[in-house]
Symmetry: C2
Subunit: 333 residues, 2 copies
């Protein structure tokens, strides 16, 4: 049997109220008494029931998050940073993260629904959205509060936070042009993914604004081998580019390998400033992940999870700006 | 006001028992009825109370874990893989992970204590243990169930899982000797850390077994700059080593950079097989993190969290074996 407050009070030789004070307002209790009560709590293994408290408050103070599988081909990820940022932001607001896994997007919704119905979470954070993503409409229909990192194009009905991907690749392109490059290529994700198209668009529009013609635009899956393969294709060109803006650090690492293997010069800028970028001396566009995490938790708590009156305007939405980190891969002559 | 089972039953035009069946034994309910009840649940936003259920069961079915800060100088981490492995293993056992942050080890214990007392978690998983670690004794005193990834030297009182660090560096050393290297150095953490000493010991004892004299043994903090600095010192030696076993991929990346900057040849093996290792074509010792995660969850659930009779023998303990991943950094002539 679980020990009760009465058991603790008896063990410590104090009143039930004193035990309650130690738990809820320890500053009101004299240190010697507090220590005695804490010793009794430890000895008996007593656990007051925040579960019962959260029942009364109708809140679990928990936010659900599906932990992403580790991408087997990517050379680095910002996921670790994002998770830490969410946990930190949650702590500041007295919420914890509940992690769950899922086999796919519909399994993610089903798990979130089960946890929400069970009262285990108050709402969830979504990661990696794309056009046609089935999660937002399903969550809205099931009335599960959520905030999204990324946009689907139908984002008026829920809070979201995103990073301006086009601004990141535009900054990378201007940086390469300032270093004297006139033929700047782009290597990115397969066509049709929103994030990939925004990164391509930033490169294209920056070249246009600079009065430079677009260099080659090659696409492929996000792997080192693909980056190396596309790098070899670029270098085999009759008029090879002298610089490349890559949509990820993984593709950038492959481009650097292709250049090294041929003893060729190729200035490269990656995206995400993963830990690998520092190891490769790779310039890279850094997303403000810590700010994203805090903005998402605030958006969720001030929006769908708020108990106060809902504002009439659109849900909180924020577009944050990335920062270009310059290293040797784009500056070494 | 939160809607009740009665509200759902009225909305769907069914009995209270039918609603309960949809929630707890949906296979007993005809599909059309189930759909009607589920529509009513969604419309009203009803949430049955697993909180109340966990109160009766005296279990939150949650395992706490402190998410580590992202190491600013390391070029990669296995933390993301470890977290995913824990979440996956928890799912298989019907438990979820609750993530919390902490400023330091004593804050970690204080947060775990608060969460455990509150009934929010049943126990925790510890990461990164070291000799003299204050957490195990504090958690034992507070009767908070836990399992540890790593050992402190006083591990008889709780379950732990560890990876045989010495076996990993020994395999790396034998691999380099087989490739013809006769002067093999070690670059590791500052002296005095258990994991660091075990990795050094594997290198030293493997050389001894091979009848080779130990090469230089240099130590420093786990950063790219330190690796590059120690690499330069090795190459400046009158009788420079031709190969190095590094205690981390970060130090290994620095060693490779030092060799590249001088146009020198240096075979290098790292440790942890972080995503960066693939990007650098770096051979590395890979910890079986997925197996560690599953072993830890099982150790916790079958040990301290078990409601069954406790076995008389020592808590579950497992030492798992790492695997050497061979890439170009140790094989290219």
């Amino acid at each position: 049997m679980q020990p009760t407050v009465e058991d603790v009070a008896r063990e410590a030789g104090v009143s039930r109220q004193t035990v309650s004070n130690v738990l809820n307002a320890p500053e009101r209790v004299r240190p010697e008494t507090r220590e005695r009560v804490e010793a009794a709590i430890a000895k008996l293994g007593y656990r007051p029931n925040r579960v019962a408290q959260s029942l009364r408050a109708s809140s679990s103070r928990m936010i659900g998050y599906r932990i992403e599988p580790v991408h087997p081909h990517a050379v680095g990820s910002i996921h670790d940073r994002f998770l830490h940022a969410l946990a930190d932001a949650g702590r500041a607001e007295d919420h914890h993260l509940l992690l769950y896994t899922a086999d796919d997007l519909s399994d993610e919704v089903a798990n979130a629904l089960a946890l929400h119905r069970a009262g285990a979470i108050d709402g969830i954070v979504l990661y990696g959205l794309h056009a046609g993503d089935p999660r937002p409409p399903a969550l809205l229909e099931q009335r599960i509060p959520f905030a999204a990192f990324g946009r689907t194009g139908h984002d008026d009905a829920h809070p979201w936070v995103d990073v301006d991907n086009a601004a990141g690749t535009a900054a990378a392109t201007r940086h390469l042009a300032e270093a004297g490059h006139r033929r700047v290529a782009f290597v990115g994700y397969p066509r049709g993914t929103d994030v990939g198209e925004r990164r391509a668009e930033g490169w294209r529009s920056a070249l246009d604004a600079l009065g430079l013609p677009p260099g080659p635009d090659l696409r492929g899956e996000d792997s080192l081998a693909t980056g190396a393969h596309l790098g070899a294709r670029l270098l085999d060109d009759d008029d090879p580019p002298t610089a490349v803006v890559a949509a990820t650090d993984t593709l950038a690492a492959g481009l650097l390998r292709a250049a090294r293997d041929r003893g060729a010069r190729l200035a490269v800028v990656g995206f995400d400033d993963t830990p690998t970028a520092a190891a490769l001396d790779l310039s890279s566009v850094r997303q403000p992940i810590e700010a994203v995490g805090h903005a998402m938790i605030r958006a969720l708590l001030n929006g769908p999870l708020s108990n106060g009156p809902k504002p009439d305007d659109l849900p909180a939405a924020r577009l944050l700006h990335p920062e270009l980190i310059v290293r040797g891969s784009s500056t070494t002559p």
